[in-house]
């Protein structure tokens, strides 16, 4: 016990001399463990936040939605629900009306904003809708007194994107006005998606959701009161799937066309939970890389500190001190680093909740955000942080103790310390003087140390490269989609109609609008694409004239569909996912008109051609196919070419008051909202990038500080021979530059592999509708390489003072 106290005291004295270094290595570990804990907790945080958000707004268990454009008298959906065998398990029901429209938002000092919109009307209780409640993040929420009044809550994502105030007035077609009293959301807006946009969120920028009372929505719709949607809450233990099946049967029996979904099948819900798991795979890769970079660096640095104590171990051995006791002091250094790393890591881990909360709030507009400290994840990372420094110190101690005392003491000229792989480069001379050879020779002389430094920097840089690569890949993919949607007609606009209209009338309506040069009616139907043995996915089938001068998809394989034949053009990505090629057959599920309603029909169609849009959701067919679905000569949107100089806004304004028009937007709007959605990810990635950079700098600084310490005698000799301190620092920069360059190469290679893996393996699960292409632009590679190389190479400058102020005589007199 007494002896241990002695070693402890000695170790504490060591600590006093090198506390800054211990703290710096601890910080390296802390960033590794803290970021690992933060990124590793993302899935749990997101699921906890999702759960809490759905619970706090009393989200529905089952939703019945009539097909777009159809509705029913109030009470009919309620009666439908009350007629099913499981009606007793339904504890609450609310009939609603969802009204597609567009809004005009006056803006101070700017042109009024026109946007596609949807009004969701629900019966209001004292706290707003009792099922699928509406929360307010600014202004106020809905209350019972708002029933029937022209008052609404505007979806916060839309308002935030356009910088709208928390209160204001909105104009709807037909001169109607709606006052929004707050900004907020409901379960359907946790992720705003668009029809035909697949499972992407991010639509909030171009799509305004308005939450209001049922009676207000009915008044806005005009005509007799109607409903087209009902949400149900079930009692404990009830099976939503069973209720769904019963409701589907009841709908069919009532001759109504619609869809019944459980909450788990709701697109936003499904994507939110699936994203939480899918994204986690990507975050895990980044977390692992950052932890690995930190671990390698900490291992390297701790080892180097203990190596410098080897002589003292030898002296102890010579004095007969038992090896176990000799190991205490260096091991205590490992413990000090481990403790510093764990304490700092704990602090950083706790702070991560707050840091990531802000990022998550940008990613998901949820009313309840839960980012508790995830002890389990932290402990996993902390275990690495605890074990690693002790291991890092144990290895050189073990190596030192295996030597004879004489060998351990002789760390000077008598000790055969080896030249590493410098011998290999003996005959390889760089241009310049012998002094110019030093950086490369020094790097080669300690290959293990150089390798660990390079790997540490490489791991951290690969995070940076992967970050830039992901952004590049996202952008390249969206650019490719935009190029396809806009090819030959970059200013094309799409006019969405409020329902199904005769194609000829729709074309005339748009063609007559000022600023429109040509108009082409189209029919877009929601479909499900499937093939045997492959997972089905939702998309949209647009029927258009393949000879149209306005726009047709590019056919990269096969040919345009032949009129009158059941043929489609699908995307290359869809073909790949469905395992078919040109000439293959897929199955389409689509709504078919039956009387006043719709039924789901299925048809096997031949793939006539492929288009290059990376979105797999877009499929095209000849208008003659419309007859199969019971829509001959019908359109629900018009694709139009503006005249030169005519803006989309001008046309939108001209069509704003037309009764059949739901919205006017650029054809590239879909790619824009995908860009927005991907932009949300960038927030998380930027945070990772920041930590990676901080870690790279810390590793570089610590490595160079220890390096300068290790080379103090060589530096002193150089100074004694008249080499200027600036040149000595330049040599240290040169040596760091080599590590930085090798680290950059390793980082670029690692980053490319990570990007390929994330884009090829992880993102297809998270973003299945998008065929991402792996791309890292030369600019990104240059930026990552330059940042890495510069940060590492310039790190010795921070220690330049130590060389400049070196006590040359004392350093040279140190007897070894």
């Amino acid at each position: 016990m007494k002896r241990l106290r002695f070693w402890l005291r000695w170790s504490l004295r060591d600590l006093r001399g090198r506390w800054a270094l211990v703290l710096a290595i601890g910080l390296v570990l802390a960033i590794g463990t803290g970021v690992y804990a933060g990124l590793g907790s993302m899935k749990d945080w997101r699921i906890a936040s999702n759960d809490a958000s759905y619970a706090v707004l009393h989200a529905h268990d089952v939703e019945v939605s009539l097909t777009t454009g159809t509705s029913a008298p109030p009470g009919s959906l309620r009666r439908l629900v009350e007629g099913i065998p499981a009606a007793g398990e339904v504890v609450a029901i609310a009939e609603r009306l969802r009204l597609p429209t567009q809004v005009e938002v006056p803006r101070r000092g700017a042109e009024a904003l026109l946007s596609p919109a949807e009004v969701i009307g629900s019966p209001l209780g004292p706290g707003g809708p009792a099922i699928d409640g509406v929360y307010a993040s600014a202004g106020r929420a809905l209350r019972a007194g708002d029933e029937g009044r022209p008052v609404a809550v505007l979806e916060r994502g839309f308002a935030e994107y356009h910088g709208l105030p928390s209160r204001g007035v909105l104009r709807l077609p037909g001169g109607r006005r709606l006052r929004y009293v707050g900004l907020g959301g409901a379960p359907e807006s946790f992720m705003v998606t668009r029809p035909g946009g697949g499972e992407f969120g991010g639509a909030e920028a171009q799509f305004a959701l308005l939450f209001t009372s049922l009676r207000t929505a009915q008044r806005l719709a005009g005509g007799p009161p109607r409903v087209d949607d009902a949400v149900l809450r079930l009692g404990a233990g009830a099976s939503p799937s069973a209720v769904r099946r019963q409701l589907e049967r009841a709908l069919a029996a009532a001759g109504l066309s619609g869809e019944v979904k459980t909450l788990a099948e709701d697109t936003a819900h499904r994507v939110l939970y699936k994203d939480a798991s899918g994204d986690q795979q990507m975050f895990d890769v980044f977390a692992f890389l950052i932890l690995a970079g930190a671990a390698l660096a900490a291992f390297n640095l701790a080892t180097r500190i203990v190596e410098s104590q080897r002589r003292e171990i030898g002296i102890g051995m010579a004095l007969g001190v038992p090896p176990r006791q000799l190991a205490i002091r260096p091991l205590l250094l490992g413990v000090q680093i481990a403790v510093a790393g764990t304490v700092l890591g704990l602090a950083l881990g706790l702070a991560m909740g707050e840091i990531f909360r802000g990022v998550l709030e940008g990613l998901l507009p949820l009313p309840a955000m839960r980012t508790p400290f995830e002890l389990g994840v932290f402990l996993r990372a902390a275990a690495v942080g605890l074990v690693l420094p002790i291991l890092a110190t144990a290895i050189p101690v073990w190596r030192g103790l295996r030597q004879t005392p004489v060998q351990a003491i002789r760390v000077g000229f008598r000790s055969a310390r080896g030249s590493g792989v410098a011998g290999l480069a003996k005959r390889l001379r760089l241009p310049g003087s012998s002094i110019a050879q030093l950086p490369l020779r020094n790097a080669l002389r300690a290959p293990r140390r150089t390798l660990l430094t390079v790997l540490g920097i490489g791991a951290v840089l690969s995070v940076l490269v992967a970050f830039l690569g992901l952004i590049d890949s996202f952008n390249a993919t969206v650019d490719r989609s935009e190029a396809e949607v806009a090819h030959g007609n970059p200013n094309r606009i799409v006019v969405a109609l409020d329902g199904f209209r005769p194609a000829g009338a729709a074309r005339r309506l748009v063609a007559r609008a000022p600023g429109v040069a040509a108009a082409e009616p189209q029919l877009t139907l929601p479909v499900t694409l499937s093939a045997s043995g492959r997972e089905a996915f939702e998309g949209s089938l647009t029927l258009l004239d393949f000879a149209s001068p306005v726009w047709v998809p590019t056919i990269v394989a096969g040919a345009a569909p032949v009129a009158g034949r059941p043929e489609v053009v699908i995307s290359e990505k869809a073909a790949q996912d469905l395992g078919v090629g040109v000439g293959g057959t897929i199955e389409l599920a689509y709504p078919r008109r039956r009387g006043a309603g719709y039924e789901e029909a299925r048809a096997r169609v031949r793939v006539a051609g492929l288009h290059p849009d990376p979105f797999r959701t877009f499929a095209y067919a000849d208008p003659s196919v419309a007859a199969l679905a019971g829509f001959p000569g019908i359109a629900n949107r018009v694709s139009a070419t503006p005249r030169p100089g005519a803006s989309e806004n001008r046309i939108a304004r001209a069509l704003f008051h037309a009764p059949a028009v739901a919205s006017v937007e650029r054809a590239t709007a879909t790619t824009e909202f995908v860009r927005n959605r991907l932009g949300d990810f960038v927030g998380v990635l930027r945070l990772i990038e920041g930590f990676a950079l901080a870690l790279a700098l810390l590793i570089a600084f610590n490595s160079s500080a220890i390096g300068i310490d290790e080379r103090r005698r060589e530096n002193a000799t150089m100074l004694a021979f008249g080499v200027t301190s600036a040149r000595a620092v330049a040599l240290a920069v040169g040596e760091s530059l080599i590590a930085g360059l090798l680290g950059a190469v390793a980082g670029l290679a690692g980053g490319y592999l990570v990007t390929s893996w994330v884009v090829g393996q992880t993102l297809p699960e998270t973003l299945p509708d998008l065929g991402l292409v792996v791309q890292i632009t030369p600019a990104s590679l240059l930026v990552a390489a330059a940042v890495g190389v510069l940060a590492v190479a310039l790190a010795p400058l921070l220690s330049a003072r130590r060389i400049r102020r070196m006590d040359v005589p004392s350093t040279l007199r140190v007897m070894e």
Binding site: R445, R713, F721
Partner: protein, 249 residues
């Protein structure tokens, strides 16, 4: 600052002149005097040994002459120029072109071969053909065939010869050696002394050797003895320098 110059009258001007040099270190409240009132001159081609026990100020004296340290009091003139008021850059240049060091622990660059270590000396002092100078110098110290060996592949004596070759390759007029034989066995030590002695004849280099080994002092032209920072004796070797072959320790 230039190399040694000959005075107008034909008598050689001393290369090194110290007058009233003192060096004191403040250690908290205690002042440690390493040197006090030291007067010393060394001429070109002179082999001077500075003797003294540990703590007598030998190394401090060497550091002053080598411009690694500056005096608290007094004046140091090298080749006729006062170095006390020189700027940092001038001191670096002085070390590159006027003095060379040989250390007890050699301080070779472990990542460079023997030849490259010597080449370093030639490079630093700005010789045009450093590689050739280095090869020639290494040959002179008897290690022509060991040029591509790394320091750890050489014996202690060989390493010290490389260190001497590095200092000689600078062709600087003053050579300062701090216990150059301290780490070596007798035979190797003698070889080193022969090399240094030869340098005073062939190149007229002023060699200042600091040691506590009195036997080495026998081969010097002049012996300076230090004690507690004071010069207690400064005299030519009685009867001239002994032959190196007569030494033994």
């Amino acid at each position: 600052m230039s190399a040694a110059e000959t005075s107008a009258g034909g008598a050689e001007q001393p290369l090194v002149e110290l007058s009233g040099v003192a060096r004191r270190y403040e250690m908290g409240e205690v002042t440690v005097t390493a040197l006090e009132g030291v007067d010393l001159t060394v001429s070109p081609g002179e082999f001077v040994v500075v003797l003294g026990p540990s703590g007598s100020g030998k190394t401090t004296l060497l550091n002053m002459i080598g411009a690694l340290d500056s005096p608290t009091e007094g004046e140091i003139r090298i080749a006729g120029e006062e170095i006390g008021g020189a700027s940092r850059a001038e001191l670096f240049a002085f070390r590159r072109h006027t003095v060379s060091f040989i250390f007890q622990t050699f301080n070779l660059f472990p990542a460079l071969t023997a030849l490259e270590n010597v080449e370093f000396g030639a490079d630093v002092s700005g010789h045009g053909n450093a590689r050739a100078v280095a090869a020639q110098t290494l040959e002179r110290v008897g290690l022509g065939n060991r040029g591509d060996h790394f320091p750890h592949e050489l014996s202690g004596g060989e390493q010290q010869r490389v260190a001497i070759a590095r200092a000689l390759a600078t062709r600087n007029p003053i050579l300062l050696a701090d216990e150059p034989t301290g780490e070596l066995d007798f035979r190797t030590g003698v070889q080193i002394l022969e090399l240094l002695h030869e340098q005073t004849h062939t190149e007229r280099t002023a060699v200042l050797v600091v040691t506590h080994n009195r036997e080495i002092a026998r081969v010097a032209h002049r012996v300076v003895e230090l004690s507690s920072g004071h010069v207690v004796a400064d005299r030519p070797n009685p009867g001239g320098p002994a032959a190196i072959s007569e030494l033994h320790w």
